[in-house]
């Protein structure tokens, strides 16, 4: 296993974890752009653009792109989040050159009006699909309430209105700005020929024009809020709460991830034993979500509407228990073992390593082996987790709940 890193003249960075014994390789373009980099009138453009990247290049039609992806036998896809947009494919090592050629070509799409209009319908279908799933609406609303006028409040999918109003021209401008080589990282894992990768990437991205791609880091100032939404066909009540936690750049994040596991992992945690195991809730979990300038500590409850308030009180009571029921050494050990085993098992596939390596590089410019990454958790002490637990008692929380019409 060897880490390799190169910066091309145009500013494009290339990082790879090379494992000559692997059966496959994965390649991905990680672009440092997402919903937070959009202005309100173009909300949803990052995600819409991600779809459009598959719709044709100067040398390939949309059908050609799809056929080429399948010709390589690739397992490929893309996703957009608040902070990044990622295009990736896993192929057999002998297809490296062709895979890189295709993926690089896709990064400079033609964005034809006709394709844009058809794909807009697909995006609107995706929005409608999520609109029919009540928990998703709660998640979007909780982000809006928590972040207020902070850029992280922007919905990744945009809204029906913003997507309908988007123009191909606005998308082209966004692409020129955000997909400049200095804002993109080519990531590879598995059986990779790194020298060829660098040489061929340099040839194929030579004409990519640099642009200024700043992102403002702003600390959000959430204020306490509680919102109840009604989704008439819903049968369950879904409640989501966000409060502050460390950012992706803050070493404290490992402490909070361990704390989330101890309090609210989907199995074996305090919330599991108190709620899920007892059959009181379909789901009761805690998690962290980290961004460049801040993080959120999340709590999520799915249960019968009539049990929501009692169940939420149970969760509150667990969170108030910092002093009376301190974190034990055993809980810490179990959480660490779980995290470590999960990371090592997942790392056996180069396609999983791609995301660990790409995400770490894009957000922190740091490479860690799987062992080093697990060490970050092993170092966490009980006192640190306990201190974070005690902080939760004073948290500023934003809570959103969605469910059916309350019974009269």
């Amino acid at each position: 296993m060897q880490f390799r890193h190169e910066v091309l003249e145009n500013g494009l960075e290339i990082v790879a974890e090379v494992n000559p014994d692997a059966f496959s390789q994965s390649l991905g373009y990680f672009v440092r752009t997402g919903a937070r980099d959009e202005t309100p009138e173009i909300a949803g453009v990052s995600h819409f653009l991600e779809h459009m990247m598959f719709k044709g290049t100067p040398t390939r039609t949309s059908l050609d792109v799809n056929r080429a992806l399948d010709d390589l036998g690739s397992q490929s896809n893309a996703y957009t989040s608040e902070e990044q947009t990622v295009y990736y494919m896993s192929v057999l090592p002998e297809h490296q050159s062709a895979a890189l050629d295709l993926l690089t070509d896709m990064m400079r799409p033609t964005l034809h009006q006709e394709d844009f209009d058809t794909e807009k319908q697909v995006i609107l279908e995706e929005i409608a699909m999520y609109d029919d799933q009540p928990p998703y609406g709660a998640m979007e609303r909780a982000m809006e309430e928590y972040f207020g006028d902070h850029p992280l409040s922007t919905r990744v999918l945009g809204t029906r209105e913003t997507v309908s109003g988007l123009t191909a021209e606005a998308m082209r401008a966004y692409h020129r700005q955000r997909y400049a080589p200095g804002n993109v990282c080519l990531v590879a894992s598995g059986a990779v020929d790194f020298e060829s990768l660098v040489r061929e990437a340099a040839e194929r991205t030579g004409r990519w024009e640099p642009a200024n791609t700043d992102r403002k880091r702003i600390v959000p100032h959430p204020t306490v809020a509680e919102v109840t939404m009604v989704h008439p066909p819903a049968t369950q009540q879904y409640t989501l709460e966000y409060s502050p936690s460390p950012s992706i750049l803050d070493p404290q994040r490992y402490v909070y991830r361990i704390l989330a596991s101890i309090l609210g992992d989907d199995s074996g945690s305090r919330m599991f034993w108190e709620l899920t195991d007892k059959g009181l809730a379909d789901m009761a979990v805690a998690f962290t979500n980290e961004f460049e300038d801040c993080g959120i500590f999340g709590l999520y409850l799915a249960c019968a509407p009539e049990q929501q308030s009692e169940n939420w009180e149970r969760i509150e009571s667990i969170l108030r228990g910092a002093r009376t029921q301190a974190i034990t050494d055993k809980e810490l050990e179990l959480a660490k073992n779980k995290v470590r085993a999960g990371m090592i098992l997942a790392s056996e596939r180069p396609s999983n390593r791609l995301f660990s390596i790409g995400n770490a590089w894009l957000s922190r410019r740091k490479y860690e082996t799987v062992r080093e990454a697990t060490e970050n958790y092993q170092r966490v002490t009980r006192d640190e987790v306990q201190a974070a637990f005690e902080q939760l008692a004073n948290r500023v929380q934003v809570r959103v709940s969605v469910g059916p019409e309350p019974e009269a």
Partner: protein
């Protein structure tokens, strides 16, 4: 593609299969036992799942909490589920903890406590899981499709029904477990980094007191035709569609599977191209092969806003029927390329391999090697696929839609 299937049968009849993947650090195993939903009494729908859940709430020397904590301590990832014919329990962990992990699995199978005190909690969990499907119309649509197509016995959801779950008593779980958790007729498949002789020795000792067989076989599955609409206040209409196809154990299965691949595998597949790329009708559209022993089906899904649902249904069915006009050799070459990649990548995951081995054993009575599958796929020609499609044209349609309005669907009655 070198691989070797290790095989051993315990005196009690349990079949143990293994495939060493020494390049991995992990090992995974899958138990498949014949306690599927089709074995549930009709008034106890949900019994198989509830029994499985309850069997993990305390076993041998371990309490319910001990089971979870011990597995977490060892870093074991686990999953268990119930299907129409089988109960499946899978675990994956680092190779060094295989033995203690197998010990816990053996306790769950052989010495479950079935604590009275936990029945109510397990029942409530099951009822909540069943209720949550109501808020996921796409998933609900498939649950209803299977129910309509395969009937009360074979189309039953593993989640059971409210009435069934409410009626289950502790004795039902104990009886179900003692009837269907038997070594003879079950399989344990391991894949990953392990020492075969040690594994066999461990299992010989762990399962020395286990005995018995599941002696009855479920009857044949006969699919039903027809169309049902379930009104739902939603933006999208969800369309789940099924038609007859050859099952997994059919000599021409790979031809049938190849046709489904042309239809739905990859971004250049027919359905993705016609329904989504050209017309923008959907975000999600797909088809997949589904087998219930002797009964094969193709299951399709499309979700679209209601005013375009009729068009979506028609384009989907027309796209399926248009396979009769021939298959392009480039399409077939892409299909072969995709299969080859996924077979190679199967070597990167002990979990996927162990469940595939167990599934193959139960459905085929043998485990085809990767080379055999690859040879089957390479042998496909445009002509052989077309001939198969002509001999097995889509018929026996079943349709379930969920959304504001019902759709017109003449195929259900006319074919």
């Amino acid at each position: 593609m070198q691989q070797k299937l290790l095989q051993h049968r315990l005196a009690n009849g349990l079949v143990i299969l293994g495939e060493r993947m020494p390049w991995l650090e992990s090992v995974a195993f899958t138990f498949m036992l014949p306690g599927g939903t089709c074995r549930e009494p009709n008034d106890r729908a949900g019994l198989a799942g509830l029994t499985l859940e309850l069997s993990q709430r305390g076993a041998g020397s371990l309490s319910s909490r001990d089971v979870v904590e011990r597995l977490d301590f060892l870093g074991v990832e686990r999953s268990s589920h119930v299907s129409t014919f089988y109960t499946t329990m899978s675990m994956a962990a680092m190779a060094s903890v295989l033995k203690p992990t197998l010990e816990i699995a053996a306790s769950i199978l052989l010495e479950p406590h079935f604590p009275e005190s936990e029945l109510e909690e397990a029942r409530q969990s099951a009822l909540l899981e069943l209720a949550s499907i109501e808020d996921d119309p796409a998933q609900k649509c498939f649950k209803e499709l299977k129910q309509l197509r395969f009937g009360e016995l074979f189309g039953r959801s593993s989640l059971g029904s409210e009435e069934g779950l409410e009626a289950i008593e502790l004795e039902d779980c104990i009886r179900f477990h003692s009837q269907f958790c038997k070594p003879n007729g079950s399989v344990l498949a391991l894949a990953g980094n392990f020492d075969w002789d040690e594994v066999v020795q461990t299992l010989e000792s762990l399962f020395s007191t286990w005995s018995g067989a599941t002696d009855t076989e479920p009857g044949p599955v006969v699919p039903y035709r027809g169309a049902v609409h379930l009104p739902h206040e939603s933006q999208q209409t969800h369309i789940a569609l099924a038609y007859d196809a050859v099952p997994y154990n059919h000599p021409e299965y790979y031809r049938g599977r190849g046709i489904v691949g042309i239809l739905s595998d990859g971004m250049s597949s027919r359905l993705f191209t016609e329904v989504r790329e050209k017309r923008g009708l959907v975000y999600a559209v797909s088809a997949s092969s589904h087998s219930l022993k002797n009964c094969g089906s193709v299951l399709c899904y499309a979700g679209t806003t209601s005013n375009r649902a009729q068009e979506t249904l028609e384009v989907t069915v027309d796209t399926i029927r248009a396979l009769a006009n021939g298959i392009d050799k480039d399409e077939l070459s892409r299909l072969k390329s995709r299969v080859q990649t996924s077979l190679v990548m199967e070597q990167e995951s002990s979990s996927s391999r162990s469940s595939q081995i167990a599934y193959d054993w139960m459905y085929l009575g043998r485990v085809p090697s990767r080379q055999e599958v690859l040879d089957e796929i390479h042998a496909l020609t445009c002509e052989s696929l077309l001939k198969h499609f002509q001999e097995h044209p889509p018929h026996g349609w079943t349709l379930v839609t969920i959304g504001p309005e019902a759709l017109e669907f003449s195929h259900a009655v006319s074919t």
